[in-house]
Point group: C2
Chain length 319, copies 2
């Protein structure tokens, strides 16, 4: 098969070549050609504009990630299949549980290195910390990521409330309660950890606003691993500043650095001045294992295409 | 019933009183009286010398913790029952999983607060981190604590090797492999996380020495939540100094601060000078929930004694 990896992921061509073995041609392109039909069996890219899409002559477009909002699906020639890959739920769930445990343990109160005076002082001033066990965790968005967070949180003895669009009851193996986003306010007073892992769309933008943050108990933790804008920016700043919310661990932001532009704060509000914010630069899913998992999946799907087997993770089929 | 709480735990008398309700007398004593018989139904203490033990006239001695090495059991009058309490396995398992996730995520490489320049720099220099998923965890000691660590680690997709005295195969629900301590060396080259949670005795003192630390892969993490001396002090220092071991999270130590004595380092070797050691001052189990769990258990056992039901967690019955 002839496979083209185009754009940001082009440097991963050797990885795919190693997985596919001989008999396949893996071509790395930094960008699509400016004009003319683009012939190959498979295109791997996470960004295909309408003009490019219409010039593709491929059986399969494989997005090397979960999000496919940058693929101009309606412009693809009839018969083209689009697939995506997951796998980021594993590192994101680990990031989230780390944030919860860190919030409970509060190890930051002790120096990391104990010489004699620090040891005497730390031992004399040891203080109790919290347990995740028995606490209530609300997970807003209960797809791949939310379910992997829930699986781990329940092993810790946390009470898990899955907040979904419909509130449709799922398996009791997955969560203790299922509630629709429309009744989120009713459960928030019982919640000590609120994790945001839903897609950003018109129904979720600003879903967590001043009212929701005020309903959370004051000792609560908020973790956002989805998109910043699910949480109202000003309301988040004010709740943290006023200690209405004890702590936030934020991996996703309202403003991102842009090439050739002056540095910007990650928020228009001075979240970086608050001691109860743990900021991380959008790294929750950045693991070599993720890349490995995703390329193995794509290699498997390319094998299925070659052998005429049904493809996995089909997200669009051009009519 | 007449209950005496003696010694360090005396300040918890109000907690027990509230749990037992009326009809019970809970007496707080900072120390046992110097002479004469000591009459009560129940004594709660974690330290009873031989002289004191022989003067007790109680049906039940309840240790308010797991360790009962400071109870002079052979000196107790015939018919005295000794019980202990657990519950520390929950916070210790949380501490351990936090240490594992922290080691994988390496968030310390990013500033906790991102203003515009820090955000631009951190975003440009994001780097991949590790996952706990798929890593191999050896748990030395597979009692209450080891099993709770295993339950959580397996929810993360870790491969768990239980290292026990006998190596007797346990349930596949608990661990992926069971090996005896005598063949520990054979599994160490496959282990990325080594957790020590066994009792300290003649068979475990120095169980992890220079040879064992050298067998671990260089990127490994060691977590000790048991007793320091299970790990050879000099060998640990040298392995960490020489990066033969990537990191250690140590909550238990070789030297403790003593009243009216000059401050001591936690180790005779300068572990506090090594950047790859995370020291905590023996706090892994210090949670209010633990105390609550343990006093609820003791109140339940006192109720059972009163009603003539079999006691729970009997560890010694004076003949």
């Amino acid at each position: 098969m002839h496979i083209q990896i185009v754009g940001l992921h082009a440097p991963n061509a050797p990885r795919l070549r190693a997985l596919l073995g001989p008999g396949h041609e893996v071509e790395a392109l930094l960008a699509f050609p400016d004009s003319g039909a683009i012939h190959s069996d498979v295109v791997i890219s996470n960004s295909i504009g309408a003009g490019e899409a219409s010039r593709l002559r491929s059986r399969l477009v494989h997005v090397p990630g979960a999000g496919w909002e940058q693929i101009a699906c309606p412009s693809l020639p009839s018969g083209t299949t689009v697939c995506n890959v997951h796998g980021h739920e594993v590192p994101i769930a680990e990031f989230t549980l780390h944030a919860i445990l860190e919030h409970c343990l509060r190890l930051w109160q002790y120096p990391a290195h104990l010489d004699a005076p620090a040891w005497a002082q730390a031992y004399a001033n040891r203080s109790q910390h919290e347990e995740a066990h028995g606490k209530t965790l609300a997970i807003v968005g209960f797809g791949h990521i939310g379910q992997e967070i829930a699986r781990r949180a329940r092993a810790f003895g946390m009470h898990v409330i899955a907040v979904t669009r419909s509130g449709k009851k799922g398996s009791a193996d997955l969560a203790d309660e299922f509630v629709p986003a429309s009744t989120l306010d009713d459960v928030l007073p019982r919640v000590q950890c609120l994790v945001i892992c839903c897609p950003l769309d018109d129904s979720t933008r600003g879903l967590i606003g001043a009212r929701q943050l005020a309903l959370l108990p004051a000792q609560s933790l908020l973790v956002n691993v989805a998109r910043a804008e699910v949480v109202d920016e000003q309301a988040l700043y004010e709740a943290l500043r006023d200690k209405a919310l004890a702590r936030a661990v934020l991996d996703v932001w309202y403003q991102y650095p842009k090439k050739d532009q002056a540095p910007v704060n990650p928020s228009r509000w001075p979240l970086h001045e608050l001691p109860n914010v743990r900021a991380t630069p959008h790294i929750s899913a950045m693991t070599p294992a993720l890349l490995d998992r995703r390329y193995r999946f794509m290699a498997q799907n390319i094998g299925r295409l070659q052998q005429g087997q049904p493809l996995l993770n089909v997200i669009y089929q051009a009519p």
